[in-house]
């Protein structure tokens, strides 16, 4: 089934109607039916925009929903005329104006009830729309912490959506928020952030609507500091030094605030008596692995297991497992370790080369292991580590070895 979306306006009520229609044949949606549905919608002051999504056989319109928005963009509860959880029928696709597709994606980003529209992967009924989007002129950078830096020449305002990969191989639109853009005669510069969800993967693309156009923003990957630097350079080029500096300060403050709540979560105290798991960082150093083996009798008195996370974890685990009696958990990243579960009720003891060497040194110079982290804070740690772009540095920071990587621009 192919849906055709057209727009119409009823001047007398101030309603903007978005009507769905099937192009031809007996299965066409009936305007009469739509009319009656529209009439069921309650007009509000300033007008209501209705996005109509029709699903299922045309005669029955079983999955029809109305998505009202006020003219000033406020979202109203969706009006469901059928089971809102049922996805579109196989093969259903959105065909319509690009701006309407963007509006639908924008609505889906905000309202979980619309998520079925984005099935099957990669982008549900909007897959064809997304693939056909033209590239918008401009530059965009995406950092692993979900932040995006965007330069749109000639634009004065822009809406941005990040595309976040799902576990099923699809994409979820995610609305970007952030400080006010820097708008100059040359264009619009923006640093914006996807919502910080601890275990969500970073965005892989951007779509935007600006200057009456809707399209993809070809984005390069970058780490957060490099992105801040690149955007700062554009700001310096297109705005006065004071404006550029103020814009950068605002963006950094937003980032700090965004990460602060997660960082606070790291201070959570483990449950008393929680089994302790050693979380070493610096696995690429062969002497760290060797020390773990040589000190196993000491480690086994305190720890129930080792958790190795990061790019070197697999190789380190392969080397350590036959040499240790202690169980050795291996994860490609802290986020993977958090997803594996099993650590939520443990106390994770981070240790880097310095703290491990000090904790396992001969008695006179021995130092305690670093304080333990509540295992339930592992997702927050993973998110922070991603924000800083360096998982090992994040663990090292918790072990008292170096600055918090997420505190850097």
């Amino acid at each position: 089934m192919t849906l055709r979306v057209v727009t119409a306006y009823r001047a007398s009520t101030g309603l903007r109607l978005v009507l769905a229609d099937a192009p031809t044949g007996a299965s066409s949606l009936r305007i009469a039916g739509l009319t009656s549905l529209v009439s069921a919608a309650r007009p509000v002051a300033g007008g209501v925009r209705l996005l109509l999504v029709a699903e299922g056989p045309a005669e029955a319109l079983p999955g029809l929903r109305l998505l009202p928005e006020t003219a000033d963009g406020r979202c109203l509860p969706p009006l469901a005329f059928a089971d809102p959880q049922s996805g579109p029928p196989p093969g259903a696709a959105f065909v319509g104006e690009a701006a309407l597709g963007f509006a639908l994606a924008f609505a889906a980003a905000e309202r979980p009830a619309l998520r079925p529209l984005l099935s099957p992967p990669p982008f549900g009924v909007l897959g064809g729309w997304l693939a056909a989007l033209p590239a918008l002129p401009g530059e965009a950078l995406l950092a692993p912490d979900g932040s995006a830096g965007v330069w749109l020449p000639g634009a004065a305002a822009a809406d941005l959506l990040a595309l976040v990969p799902t576990a099923e191989g699809g994409l979820l639109p995610s609305r970007l928020h952030g400080p006010p853009p820097l708008v100059t005669g040359a264009g619009l510069l923006r640093i914006a952030f996807a919502p910080l969800r601890p275990l969500a993967p970073p965005p892989v693309g951007l779509v935007g609507a600006a200057a009456g156009r809707c399209g993809r923003l070809p984005a390069r990957r970058s780490d957060a500091p490099a992105m801040a630097e690149a955007i700062g350079a554009i700001a310096a080029r297109v705005a006065s030094p004071a404006e550029a500096s103020a814009f950068r300060s605002l963006a950094l403050a937003e980032r700090r605030e965004r990460l602060a709540s997660l960082a606070a979560g790291l201070a959570a105290v483990p449950e008393p008596g929680a089994p302790q798991v050693l979380l070493p960082a610096g696995l690429s150093d062969p002497f760290l692995r060797r020390l773990l083996v040589l000190a196993e009798p000491v480690l086994a008195r305190r720890f129930v297991a080792l958790l190795l996370a990061g790019p070197e974890a697999q190789e380190a685990g392969r080397w350590l497992r036959p040499r240790l009696s202690l169980p050795v958990g291996v994860a490609r990243s802290l986020a993977d370790a958090a997803r594996q579960g099993g650590y939520a009720r443990t106390a994770l003891v981070p240790a880097g080369p310095q703290s491990l060497a000090a904790a396992l040194a001969p008695a006179p110079e021995r130092r305690p292991f670093p304080p333990a982290l509540a295992g339930r804070a592992l997702p927050a740690l993973a998110a922070l580590a991603r924000a800083g772009g360096d998982e090992a540095a994040a663990v090292l920071h918790l072990a008292g070895e170096g600055a918090a990587p997420w505190a850097a621009p």
């Binding site: 610096g282 062969p286 040499r323 310095q354």
Partner: protein, 407 residues
């Protein structure tokens, strides 16, 4: 290798493949123990492919170190580590005596300790590898300057690709490994002190001189010929640490004062020296017949070769631990001129066993060579020169190290 043995000696090499001081000491220990009625076996590392391994006598065997990590301080391939551990355990030895941790592996030591907690583990340290990543030499990588103490920041300066934290880890790992041994042997008190300053004091530490070849020990000691005071000899390889380049430069300077001074170089040829030190080629031409390259020699020839010299010179530019050549010169009755540092300074009492020179200084060594060419001084030092410890001295010292046998 069936049945239980008393002592299993594990070495980083076998004399059939290389003849460094450490492997010679391990091999001679096994021979000495057997001569004393104890059952001992030698299991030694080999870098050569097994197809090239020589046939060895009963009780001596090799293992392949190729399955180790590049620095030869741990095993890359676990099956090979397990296989070696099984071989060691199959000896049923009550004492495992390791010479070196290099080519043996820190992880193997941990596994051996865990598998045989009641066994006596003994380690002989032949250099400062645990302290210094520069081949255990405690010599700075950039300029060859002597290093007096290891510290993470200073070590990182020697190895710019490595962080200070790496060296903290390295030290902690080595200290853990060393703590697994019941007894540790230092061939020199200098080495014992260096390890103590670094932070390692063993549960039971012993200073035991490396054993000399029993055949050499049995040879009668001859007084040196009186007319050899101006005849010097160098024994060894032209490596950057042995100081042969310094000695050759010193020879030229010394001959300006004493033209009769001459040098025999044993253990290598002129082409090997020029290969290692190309800049010395003009100097060798200039020295002409004052330097004779006598080539390689069999260990049994060493005393005879030394007897042709008035002095044996050990001009090493690193600390040395207990160079075998010093023992051999003492056995030969030939006075020594050594760099006045480390194990050399300890083993050669100035004015009694020989003379000291400033390491790395051709000028100071030239001064000492010229001074040594005095026949009266030579004769006086030759009279007071100590002999090398005898095989029985070695066994007596080794007794408390290894503990009582199973007899």
């Amino acid at each position: 290798m069936g049945g239980s043995v008393d002592v299993c000696v594990i070495a980083h090499a076998h004399p059939a493949l290389s003849r460094g001081g450490g492997e010679m000491a391990a091999w001679r220990e096994v021979r000495a123990l057997r001569a004393a009625g104890r059952t001992a076996v030698l299991i030694a590392a080999a870098e050569q492919p097994p197809a090239e391994w020589p046939a060895l006598p009963e009780g001596e065997s090799l293992y392949d170190a190729a399955a180790m990590e590049e620095d030869r301080l741990a095993w890359a391939e676990d099956p090979a580590r397990r296989a070696l551990l099984s071989r060691l355990l199959a000896t049923g030895a009550g004492v495992f005596h390791l010479h070196h941790l290099w080519r043996v592996g820190l992880d193997l030591v941990a596994a051996l300790r865990a598998a045989r907690p009641e066994a006596r583990l003994v380690l002989t340290l032949h250099e400062m590898l645990a302290i210094c990543a520069n081949h255990g030499q405690m010599v700075r990588t950039a300029d060859g300057a002597l290093c007096a103490a290891a510290a993470p920041e200073a070590c990182a300066a020697c190895f710019p690709g490595r962080a200070p934290a790496h060296f903290a880890l390295r030290r902690a790992a080595f200290l853990r490994a060393l703590s697994l041994f019941d007894a540790v042997v230092f061939p020199s008190d200098f080495l014992r002190r260096r390890y103590a300053e670094w932070g390692f004091v063993p549960r039971a530490g012993f200073v035991v001189e490396n054993p000399l070849d029993p055949a050499l020990a049995a040879r009668p000691r001859r007084p040196p010929a009186p007319d050899l005071a101006a005849r010097f000899a160098f024994f060894g390889q032209p490596t950057p640490f042995k100081g042969l380049d310094v000695l050759l430069s010193a020879l030229r300077l010394a001959r300006e004062e004493r033209p009769g001074i001459a040098l025999d170089v044993h253990g290598c040829g002129a082409e090997e020296v020029v290969g290692m030190f190309p800049a010395l080629a003009p100097l060798l031409s200039q020295l002409g017949g004052a330097v004779r390259f006598r080539g390689r020699y069999h260990p049994t020839e060493v005393l005879d070769r030394m007897a042709e010299a008035g002095w044996v010179v050990v001009p090493s530019v690193w600390w040395e631990n207990s160079p075998m050549v010093i023992l051999e010169a003492k056995r030969a009755g030939v006075p020594l001129i050594v760099s006045g540092i480390g194990g050399m300074a300890e083993k050669v009492r100035p004015g009694l066993d020989g003379l000291h020179a400033t390491p790395g200084s051709a000028r100071d060594l030239a001064r000492v060579l010229a001074e040594a060419a005095d026949p009266a001084l030579h004769a006086r030092i030759a009279r007071s020169l100590a002999d090398a410890p005898s095989p029985q001295d070695f066994l007596d010292a080794l007794g408390p190290v290894l503990g009582p046998g199973r007899g």
